[in-house]
Symmetry: C2
Subunit: 336 residues, 2 copies
Amino acid sequence: MNYKISLAHGSGGGKSRELIENIFKKYFSNPVLDRMDDAGVLKLNGKNLAFTTDSFVVKPIFFEGGDIGKLAVSGTVNDLAVMGAKPAALTAAFIIEEGFEIEKLERIIKSMKETADEAGVIIAAGDTKVVEKGSTDGIFINTSGIGVIPEEIKTGGAMAKSGDVIIVSGCIGNHGASIITSREDLGFKTFVRSDVSPLNGLIESMLEVVPEIHVMRDATRGGLATVLNEIAIQSEVKIEVLEEKIPIQEEVKGVCGLLGLDPLYLANEGRIAIFVKEEDTQKLLDVMREHKYGREASVIGNVVDNTKEPVVILKTAGSGGRILDMLSGEPLPRIC
Amino acid sequence: MNYKISLAHGSGGGKSRELIENIFKKYFSNPVLDRMDDAGVLKLNGKNLAFTTDSFVVKPIFFEGGDIGKLAVSGTVNDLAVMGAKPAALTAAFIIEEGFEIEKLERIIKSMKETADEAGVIIAAGDTKVVEKGSTDGIFINTSGIGVIPEEIKTGGAMAKSGDVIIVSGCIGNHGASIITSREDLGFKTFVRSDVSPLNGLIESMLEVVPEIHVMRDATRGGLATVLNEIAIQSEVKIEVLEEKIPIQEEVKGVCGLLGLDPLYLANEGRIAIFVKEEDTQKLLDVMREHKYGREASVIGNVVDNTKEPVVILKTAGSGGRILDMLSGEPLPRIC
């Protein structure tokens, strides 16, 4: 392991896992953390409580379709929701650079408030630190969140099973592509909108119809390819997805083509991958497509086998398929 | 209100309150947040759950008596404990600068682990973001925490009552003085040790003996003077403290004398102010002084009256007393 932190250690991909395995788990290991899900699940007063945290360092802080505030609330709400929890409350902690404009801060707070209202969560506690000019980069926001998981809900990254159908809730890559095109130094401008959104409403309506969803995961850092790999590892399964079935907007394909990026590795902030029994697939798709954040829900593949050598295969129209790895390196720092 | 963020907005003093009142409360206002206690208290499954967050940006990250890791765990544990909660779990989120040495990160994580073990809390979830060199200042850590408040415990900043005795749990100003003397550019070195420590054990033993403690608050940013003012405002009371009764180490007085600082405004990270009924005072002092973090517990004053014009008076031996204000400005940025 390198002896200095590199951008790849924050990518959400392979290097992030290395850091977690070699440093964080070495000291913090406990049954809650070691499940490596989007939120830790604790027994508290006989109920299952999901508890999660995320820091947001996105650059730029305002982008097409959202801002760091909407991102900070949606990200944590989604980490709770994909665990089957009903998000109850968030905390919000700000690290702000001296000289930051209060008008911008207020825009961000207003956006957090609107997103929290949409998600039906309150901000229960907060903190603000200010650091000297040059000590940080505008504003960083941490949100942590708690939510109760109803008794009957059992979902988690280790629960994918052979035969499961894999669904994505909508077009992928928009958030990443939006951030790239919002950065000023690219020399061109498109209007790709970020998909950032709080998904607890969508997920609640899904669980009402299909309480037994094996896995849900929001495809954030590292993109769809990385979360499929994470789930393959946690569940010890072989996954096959069909490239042509993965919904991607033309504009996103265009941005990726120009820059040599792969949309399967771009971060999403309002898209989830879902693993469900085949017989539940159609009714799940039906209810998803009725929700504004699930209209383009699509089946993209299957869990084809249990295996001690977890793998994700991307099948393309004209070929037998290739291994789709986890993100390596860090093509796009500061995406969330 | 100024239109740009200044260091004083992160001081924990007057400007911090201004920011909270004018921006955060304007949007985030709800009954949990508006109590302005060290943690939000939510009803969840019929139980009172405390939920809190803090980001740590201390400079330097290693100092006499502790480091940013010990600070990050102690700070959040203490914010829960002073609300009467038994801390159950924390989250830990890291923002790290590219190039940060992994050996240093490991020292910090080890220190967090030791402090978490001492406090009896687990790390339930984590997050790591890495930002480009120059975008931040080494490492920032956010911890959020949850804990259950036993049914019989009612404590909070608004519960100070006329006649209450005010206790501090030990010598004040050490943390602030330690940080100052750890900064390299001062041209002198003393060995003031930070008081940083997790206080939930002390507080638990206090509540066993005196379940009705009106107020407990850790005297962090803004120091003892600022938290006494916060409590005076929340409880609408007049407070009198006796300067000669406030325990301060000679070394801390020395550092303050040299630098023209007032120890009453220096941050503490292992010291609490306690408001309790007069008849409970002695038994509380007795149990506190048996605990390693309460050996120098001292009575420093009283709540003398209810009032719509909250005020803290510092009485000195040779004078009638003067108003002890909240911290204004920010003499010592990056103290925690």
